[in-house]
Symmetry: C2
Subunit: 365 residues, 2 copies
């Protein structure tokens, strides 16, 4: 049987640096565990624009469709701020999500013991926090039509976007959330604004339908998204799995990520329907951005990207043990006080560069 | 000259209880300061539905249009959850906002010194916090057409809402934000998702236009709303005035409110264009909801509603000194350790009921 294929799209800013460490980890799994991938690389975001004039070339899109999993670094940077909306780096990422139909975006918000002091929240509020946000990723206001800026009669303008969800779009992401909950603490909280948006009413009804018909064993609650933001700040440990739409998911998952104090640590998985080989279409990427201010300086923390690869092992390749092994190595290194600049707190630690962190994790493996 | 008129809409849940304390404060200003209002009362929300079958009667709407200021308690409760979307308690509030054209919703997120320990955030992150969120309140996805749940050909359904902003809708709320900033720390941060939504691009451009043409002296920055949620959690004191749209404002202002740990304390003002007498159309309400679980028990904290009246003194009646006097009385009472149940922490204090808190504030005045 052929090796599973990985397409690496390192992208912009710190993307290539953090991805370099992931490549070393992939190499380690090949050398030491006989877990070998066919790795290829291509361009996305500003890096693709510089070469092709678009943030994702058609050939790259085709390769992503073929790959068993895509690993993405980060996209964007001030250099590209002046570009037209249609060719901005983000459009490359959004095209991947949409055309691969990666409807379930899994964003764990986890607080690492060694880093609980980093949170702006009190330690007892966040220590041990482990929630999973499932964000719908291919629909809603991100993709709904009509959209655009239109001239008004009096010479002024109107900006329009459309929030649009179908029964099936809601049901499939709800199923992803319920499946995950069954393997966790069996609780799902669904968030929308059903009190002001009809699309939120449909969201609530369809999530409830999936629950009643397919997952009655999972505990389901509903919450307005504004209250959700409050509750995340007040007492995040009340949640297990949260399922929400594309836009609320964008804001709430970033809020949750920041609660943990471990932003440079958080991975994500974006999953679609199973391919012919049974694996889901999948893209893995760190939650952090391209951090142009520190790009190229060897300061970036590669852990979020490395943990994204761990998610790939778990969700694409059914290698839960290997994933757990990699996650444990990261925890060991943190417990040993190994720190990239972003993790360096008042209590000190051993300062390392991006590759120094890679070295430490390889040693711990 | 006739006394200025106040329309009180106490609404549901704890609304009537907290409003009873506000009425005593209004009485005090009349007796002791010669500041007399013509006060009348009417129904909104579930209370209106119970009597009229709608959450806001046309006659009430007309009275609100005439009033110099409207004071609202809270709307909603489990009893009304089964009602159709069109007559839910919230629709009464939304009708007031829309028909009075209250486009600028001012939501201060302020941390009271005596309560800094109540926040889930570390004390040094929130102590002294004082930010003002200006939320657009009459447009965007709350009111855009088309909207609704539509049948699809295959028997499934589609939920649709429309995010829609015009040049003028953006410019006028931006002006409110810049005006406030000039009286504060002269900084405005505007939040949207211009990287994925064209309506966000228009928002950014129009806010920038107002800045460049009318308020070049105010410091303006732009931030994506997801990053805004992160930054609010990470270091809220970086902000002075935040201006954002209706939906982001709903979520971000609740997030900011919870940061302060003083949710039962936070007032809001919703302001529209000036009326013939020069006063803006205005509605004042606490940020907290109707709290049906404690309604009628005399446990509710009336401070948010009382501080909403202080905002009315300041923004509708140009009585900044009287407003400050009332705010100082509240601070004194808190510093003295007077505590409704929601404010009772491990360090203790003097427990009081809703009216006990009213007594204390009257005494401090
Ligand atoms: C880069 C941007 C388009 C993206 C989004 O809004 O989805 C990012 O914020 C994210 O959450 O992955
Ligand atoms: C009650 C509800 C309609 C309202 C809103 O969504 O605007 C509330 O959450 C608020 O923020 O005032």
């Amino acid at each position: 049987m052929a090796n599973p294929s990985l397409l690496i799209l390192a992208g912009d800013g710190i993307g290539p640096e953090v991805m370099a460490e992931v490549k070393r980890i992939i190499g380690w799994f090949g050398d030491k565990c006989g877990v070998t991938f066919d790795v290829s690389e291509d361009l996305v975001g500003g890096a693709a624009y510089d070469v092709h004039g678009v943030p994702l070339a058609d050939a790259t899109m085709a390769r992503a469709q073929e790959a068993d999993a895509v690993l993405l670094g980060a996209v964007g940077g001030p250099k590209y701020d002046v570009l037209d909306f249609s060719v901005k780096p983000e459009r490359g990422l959004l095209r991947l999500r949409k055309e691969m139909d990666l409807y379930a975006n899994l964003r764990p918000a986890q607080c690492f013991d060694a880093l609980a002091d980093f949170s702006s929240l009190k330690k007892e509020i966040v220590a041990g926090l482990d929630i999973m946000i499932v964000r719908e990723l291919t629909s809603g206001v991100y993709f709904g039509e009509p959209r655009g800026i239109f001239p008004a009669e009096d010479g002024t303008r109107v900006g329009i976007n459309t929030q649009r969800y179908t029964t099936e779009e809601i049901r499939r992401v709800a199923r992803s959330a319920f499946e995950l909950a069954r393997r966790r603490n069996n609780k799902v909280c669904s968030m929308e604004k059903a009190n002001v948006m009809e699309s939120g009413i449909l969201w609530r009804e369809e999530v409830q339908w999936v629950h009643d018909n397919e997952y009655p064993d999972v505990e389901l609650s509903h919450m307005y998204a504004d209250n959700g933001a409050m509750q995340l700040v007040r007492w995040p440990k009340q949640f297990d799995v949260i399922v929400t739409d594309n836009l609320f998911g964008d804001v709430l998952s970033d809020c949750a990520a920041m609660l943990t104090g471990s932003l440079g640590m958080l991975p994500s998985a974006s999953l679609g329907a199973p391919m012919a080989n049974g694996r889901p279409k999948a893209l893995y990427e760190p939650v952090h951005g391209s951090a142009p201010d520190i790009a190229g300086l060897g300061k970036a923390n590669p852990i979020a990207c490395i943990l994204s690869f761990a998610m790939a092992l778990r969700y694409s390749f059914d290698m839960g043990d290997e994933a757990a092994r990699l996650e444990r190595a990261v925890e060991t290194v943190l417990a040993d006080g190994v720190r990239t600049a972003d993790l360096m707190g008042p209590e000190g630690g051993t300062p390392v560069s991006t590759s120094g962190m890679g070295d430490a994790i390889l040693a711990a493996l």
